[in-house]
């Protein structure tokens, strides 16, 4: 069986959940080979079907933006005569994928929310125009290079050999043009990761700048916290929590929008959520067109009451 090259993200020694999802998808296409940059090779890779693990442990990969990683991945893909390449649809993943696709003259599909395989044909599903359309597409040149969104499939355990193969690549000077001069780690929120969370509770301009009610309700549900761009632009919540066209796309089981009007650019990031609930003072707010349940009211009173009620139910 041909190799399917899977770029995995390792954070604090662990493979991220989206990485394990990629391995699960890869098994539908061929034999998964994981590619790891850095010193740690998490056991979870072999436990999710990775037959081979290419490890590239060289400081150069952390010193520059995607250039060196893209060259290394291209070499692995070419040497392995890979059948397909899967990467996480993050900003870095997409940039690496774009360079690998061009270098190998292969078609690229980004932001896939599903990948299906029929014989040799790999078909991807994407959600476009702010989630208003679903598009199925195929790569017609080279091998499929696909950037896949989190939560596309449930990661399935499968035992793979997990044979580690150290790879070293002579990175060209041309790939070293964008130097990372400083990195400042952010403090962890202690909440689930926004794009992976089963429940997202978010706040907008209607919070008036105080996210405490939103956070308290999120915590009783074990949810991630999100924000509209209006809230982010006002400096009320960090940009990495923005949901929408220029923020994160989330597709949780439950999305609770508080004090958010529901502009098209916000919808673009949450419209595919399974269940949508909103609290908004204005019964005309467009967010109510999307909801399964809506409360017309002031979030400053509705949310604290909901938090108490949820706590009471949990006992």
């Amino acid at each position: 069986m041909s190799e399917v090259i899977v770029l995995v993200d390792v954070v604090d020694g662990n493979a991220t959940k989206p990485s394990l999802e990629l391995l699960t998808i890869a098994r539908k296409i061929g034999e998964p080979s994981a590619v790891v940059f850095g010193a740690d090779v998490p056991a979870s890779l072999a436990e999710h079907g990775a037959e081979k693990i290419y490890q590239l442990d060289d400081a150069v990969y952390g010193e520059y933006l995607v250039g060196p990683k893209a060259e290394a991945l291209t070499k692995i893909v070419t040497d392995a005569s890979a059948a397909a390449v899967l990467v996480p649809s993050t900003t870095e993943g997409k940039e690496i994928a774009a360079r690998v696709a061009l270098k190998t003259e292969s078609g690229l599909i980004t932001d896939a929310v599903d990948v299906s395989v029929d014989g040799d044909t790999v078909t991807t599903t994407q959600s476009v125009f702010a989630g208003n359309f679903t598009v199925d597409a195929q790569v017609t040149k080279g091998i499929p290079v696909i950037a896949v969104k989190p939560n596309s499939v449930a990661p399935e355990a499968a035992s793979g050999a997990g044979t580690v193969e150290a790879v070293s690549v002579d990175v060209s000077d041309a790939a070293k043009g964008a130097k990372i001069v400083s990195t400042k780690e952010k403090a962890a929120s202690g909440r689930p990761e926004l794009t992976e969370a089963a429940i997202v509770v978010s706040g907008g301009r209607g919070t008036g700048g105080d996210f405490s009610e939103v956070e308290a309700f999120a915590d009783t549900l074990g949810a991630a916290v999100g924000a509209s761009r209006a809230a982010v632009d006002s400096g009320w919540y960090p940009h990495s929590f923005q949901v929408g066209q220029t923020g994160k796309t989330v597709s949780p089981q439950l999305y609770v929008a508080n004090g958010i009007s529901g502009a098209i650019q916000h919808r673009a990031g949450m419209q595919t959520s399974k269940t949508i609930v909103a609290v908004n003072k204005d019964e005309e707010a467009p967010i109510f067109e999307l909801v399964d349940f809506g409360v017309v009211g002031d979030l400053k009173t509705v949310l604290p009451q909901a938090t108490e009620a949820a706590k009471a139910r949990k006992g």
Binding site: G107, F133, V135, T183, V296, E308
Partner: protein, 260 residues
């Protein structure tokens, strides 16, 4: 002297009903009003700021149909000095690879220190064209800058990632992409609107760029759309007005769905 080319795209208005052309599954660009992609306005703004602080010129470059001239005009009204519009029927339906080829060939004919891009187009929105252009031109790409600082021939950006904030630096000829975190883009002033009428716009077609028609367009695409499906409308939900028990009712709903 800093010369910056800003690549801008003419896109269907996001607040209109965007759809697909049923004959070939490409984005319907005919029945929807278009405009300069809002996300590219941020790139124009940053380029103007850089040039205003020193001296130099801002050239806007677009690849698109006749109407795309509107996008060029808007950027000229904001203050860009001149425009280049690559327009050729053969380009219609191009994917990101072909678009990046045309942009790269056009850039080879222009003088520049930096090329600024938006973070993503608001229609196709893959966000890969800047990277692809850089790859084709053999240039480094300093992408997704939320803050852009230009000092001589080097550009430093601040990038706001999920786990860390980073500073990234590049120098020499560079591709830079600019996010919507860089600060509001200016509105054209009356003076700007009048001045734009006299600014030069060059029109190029594929023969001007030495690109063969077979390298671009729908038939040259490296991917194909096999189907497009409008999302089924969401079924109308229950909406209640808070009468002192809105929070409780909300949780009753969540409990009925087993979320609590």
């Amino acid at each position: 002297m800093t010369n910056i080319v800003v690549a801008v795209k003419y896109v269907p208005d996001a607040t209109a009903d965007r759809t697909f052309d049923s004959s070939d599954n490409t984005v319907d660009r005919e029945n929807v009003d278009g405009l300069l992609s809002e996300l590219d306005e941020y790139a124009v703004e940053q380029a103007l700021k850089v040039v205003e602080e020193g001296d130099g010129e801002v050239t806007v470059l677009t690849v698109g149909p006749d109407d795309a001239a509107d996008a060029v005009r808007k950027a000229l009204q904001m203050g860009a000095d001149k425009g280049v519009h690559v327009n050729d029927d053969a380009i219609a339906g191009s994917d990101a690879f072909a678009t990046s080829l045309v942009l790269a060939k056009a850039l080879e004919k222009l003088e520049y220190d930096f090329v600024f891009f938006g973070m993503a187009s608001t229609d196709g929105g893959m966000g890969v064209v800047p990277t692809l252009v850089a790859e084709r031109l053999g240039l480094p790409a300093v992408t997704l800058g939320g803050e852009i600082t230009v000092d001589g021939d080097s550009v430093t950006i601040k990038r706001d990632g999920d786990v860390a904030t980073q500073e990234v630096q590049g120098s020499g000829k560079l591709v830079v992409s600019v996010t919507d975190q860089t600060g509001e883009a200016r509105y054209p002033s009356f003076k700007g609107i009048m001045a734009a009428k006299k600014k030069p716009v060059e029109e190029w077609d594929l023969s001007d760029l030495g690109v063969d028609a077979s390298e671009v367009g729908l038939d040259a695409a490296w991917t194909k759309v096999v189907s497009t499906e409008p999302r089924p409308p969401r079924t109308a939900g229950e909406i209640i007005t808070d009468e002192g028990d809105g929070g409780t009712k909300l949780v009753e709903f969540l409990a009925s769905k087993k979320f609590v």
